[in-house]
């Protein structure tokens, strides 16, 4: 799916913000992966030339955290989180509808809980002042994505709860109807 074509399931101003956040997440995801490849290759070249990039590993750690936490809300937005739907799919429509509301609400609440505690962890780390040994920057700089990612994911599932309560269909996310998209061509 091209993000320029991403249509938010949300009305008005909320929709505009949603689309903007979706764009930012997508750019962070793509950039994170490209930088990771560049960093890793540069490290090889450096080592063969006799100058190891000693902070390469830490940079990759920072990038994998960025990718994971930008990605979980992006995945929530597109209904791409892995679930075992065999029993769910076998239920009648009304039960599925109620179940989906429950799932989205509980997931949203869990994400907000983790937002709170990852914020607590972040502040704790900032207070301890631990540095990354090679980059020599504060360690908390690379984990700010955790609370942010959990928070945006919580919002996505919260909105999915509301969407399922207002709409007659069953929604995996604000923009994705239930049921896996089978087309192998589909891009995300």
């Amino acid at each position: 799916m091209d993000d320029s074509e991403y249509v938010s399931g949300l009305p008005g101003f909320l929709g505009v913000i949603d689309v903007a956040i979706a764009r930012i997440e997508a750019v962070l995801l793509a950039l994170g992966v490209l930088l990771m490849a560049a960093n890793t290759v540069a490290n090889v070249v450096g080592r063969i030339a006799g100058h190891t990039i000693y902070f390469s590993e830490e940079l990759n750690q920072a990038l994998i955290i960025l990718i994971t936490f930008a990605g979980i809300s992006y995945a929530a937005r597109h209904g791409r989180h892995i679930r075992m739907s065999a029993f769910f799919d076998a239920m009648p429509f009304r039960s599925r509808k109620l179940m989906m509301i429950l799932i989205a609400a509980v997931t949203s609440a869990t994400m907000f809980l983790l937002t709170w505690y990852s914020l607590a962890y972040l502040l704790e780390q900032a207070g301890r002042g631990r540095l990354l040994p090679a980059l020599r920057i504060p360690q908390w700089w690379i984990i700010v994505w955790a609370p942010l990612g959990f928070f945006l994911t919580g919002i996505q599932y919260g909105l999915t709860t509301v969407k399922n309560m207002l709409d007659k269909d069953i929604w995996l996310s604000t923009s994705t109807l239930e049921g896996y998209d089978d087309s192998a061509e589909e891009e995300v």
């Binding site: 080592r47 006799g50 100058h51 190891t52 000693y54 390469s56 590993e57 830490e58 704790e124 780390q125 301890r128 002042g129 631990r130 540095l131 990354l132 040994p133 090679a134 020599r136 360690q139």
Partner: protein
Amino acid sequence: ETWRYAFEEALDEVQGKFAQKFKAEVEANSDNEVQLFPFGTLGESVDIMEQAQSGILQFVDQSPGFTGALIPEAQVFFVPYLLPQDQDQLFSFFRNSKAVKELFPPLYAEQGLELLTMFPEGEVMMTTTEPVRAPADLNEVKFRVMTNPLIVESYQAFGATPTPLPWGQVYGALQTGMIQGQENPAFFIESTKMYEVTDYITRPGHNNFTTAVMANKDFYDALSDEDKQVVQNAIAVAFDYILEYQDGLTEESLAKIREAKPAMTITTLTEEERAPFRETAAAVEQKYLEIGGAQAQAILDQMKADLQAASESAQAEAAAAN
């Protein structure tokens, strides 16, 4: 009460031996139980340190090299040729050092930790795929080091290409030739099988791996005087035990390596051969003063004074014995 104690090595390596002794002493002399968590079972070194700071763990063993990210002064233990190679002097230093007993504890306290003891784990040796007699032999050698600026600096000064690499990849990288060397104490070279993928062990005498045991400070402060005494006594007993345990451990480990791989060449560099390595120490010391935090100079000066005292007392003892 149940006290939890995590460390960075396996149960039968030096830190694990210390922890087992501590556990046995505490349990024999009080109603407290000590649960031991070896390497990896609760996360890596940084993780267990944070857990000790949070109070989830009551005790933790972390080497100052890792603590350097938190307490930069602790990196002093990576200044090469600072610690003596003579075992008696070394032990005397750890028993009596004012730096360890008076200067470091407040720095640990700032991080919510009660420093209980520091002890040596063994002479650091290089294992390489080619012989090393002089810095020139390290030229172009990709040498795996811990991710610590001072070790990187040391090996750069030695002439090698210091290559930080996660521990899990070191064995494979030595096997394929991606790197050609790494350093560790003899017991660790033996237990982690590094000798299987290298052919030379070299003893430049540049360092002795040091580690530290600490408690969560709030936990420790809240202990009854009686329990504090139990902890202190157990630490003292375990400290004596671990020095005794180490007396000969290096030779035993090297013997095991020789038995498993007779072709292994083990070389102790002569004082003459060590000289060019030793000359690089000043540059690393300078780097330590740059990045070692506010107390770096004070710690280094005190360490040197302590080491002088340790050397004199060892000489006096030797004279008395004659």
